[in-house]
Symmetry: C2
Amino acid sequence: MYESLLQHVSRRIRLDKAEEDFFISVIKHQKLRKKQFFTQAGEVCKYSGYVLKGCLRTYEVDKDGNEHILQFSIEDWWVGDLYSFFTGTPSRYFVDALEPTELALIDLASQELLYEKVPKFERYFRLLVQNAFVASQRRVVSAISKPAEERYLEFHKRYPTLEQRIPQHQIASYLGITPESLSRIRKQLSNRKP
Amino acid sequence: MYESLLQHVSRRIRLDKAEEDFFISVIKHQKLRKKQFFTQAGEVCKYSGYVLKGCLRTYEVDKDGNEHILQFSIEDWWVGDLYSFFTGTPSRYFVDALEPTELALIDLASQELLYEKVPKFERYFRLLVQNAFVASQRRVVSAISKPAEERYLEFHKRYPTLEQRIPQHQIASYLGITPESLSRIRKQLSNRKP
DNA sequence: CGTCTATTTGAATGTACTCAAAAGCGGTGG
DNA sequence: CCACCGCTTTTGAGTACATTCAAATAGACG
């Protein structure tokens, strides 16, 4: 059931059998249908989720009701609002499933217990967050310095498989442009290339 | 010399005297004059720096030679290119001092030694990176979803002291707009308010 | 005081947006 | 199996926000 998760962990820290078992013992399992929410803005994000199968999006809804996608999460990525999760304050993000999805869940109490019993997990999560931070910073630079076409090409190169899986208007939202603009950009590119 | 740093640490994890002493023993001290580099793109970032006094900027230079500021770092913030630091690969960022600056430095070997001898530090750095990640994600949403004026107002509210300390064109670069645009935005605001 | 850099202002341009409508696509039920 | 409905993508026209380029003014520093 959780092989991919254990593998993900063991690529970063070394666990013995007892530690693995303990880890698995605090994990819960969740299935989401398409469009079902994992968390909603205004409520506290009770779980961190590891994607076993499927795809989710994390997004904010602004005062005009427009959605802005922060993150897509596919297999082998963690998902959730870290800030809400750790502080217990209401989240500002919505997270829902773009496909039928299965998650491994861990709640805050379990995570803290885990840190206590197996301190190596501090390292595991530090490494994860560190990577996520590095990626986020790159996206900031991209967002503030590059025109839409270039941002699209970056996305296209870095996440070629994601682009197949996800409706175009969601990608536009992730890139910070309108669906109309993305459509035009793709048209221009296809006229220029072949 | 390092009181502020020790305080910063002890607000997050509890250290006994021996642990404190060990921590301090691996710290080096560095002074930078205004405009002096902490790291440059193309070289490996050898140190993480804790700002004891002063202010630095982290920025990327694009192919047209334009600078894009990722981060300002003032007293009690860590600075450096995490990715380069941990992987030993050349950095893509420049970091230099906007004011005369003093730093507490730790190199990678020392940091790993620290993790080994005082595993609590994994937690300390996890918490730091976690906060930085949360902040970076918010900036992503802001960058992709809000017009320049709104982004400026956010900056103005969140970092009122920084705005006093830093030349306006650097703030424009941080916001992802031209100095001319920021000047016009500020003019409009001052005409509208009073 | 003079030089260099930062900020402001103006005019023209461009990129991306809004609004509106048509075309395409996929799923559902008759 | 086809027809219809809803949603996504495309296309068009007009607009707005921010940029570029150029020049003037203001400020900082030696």
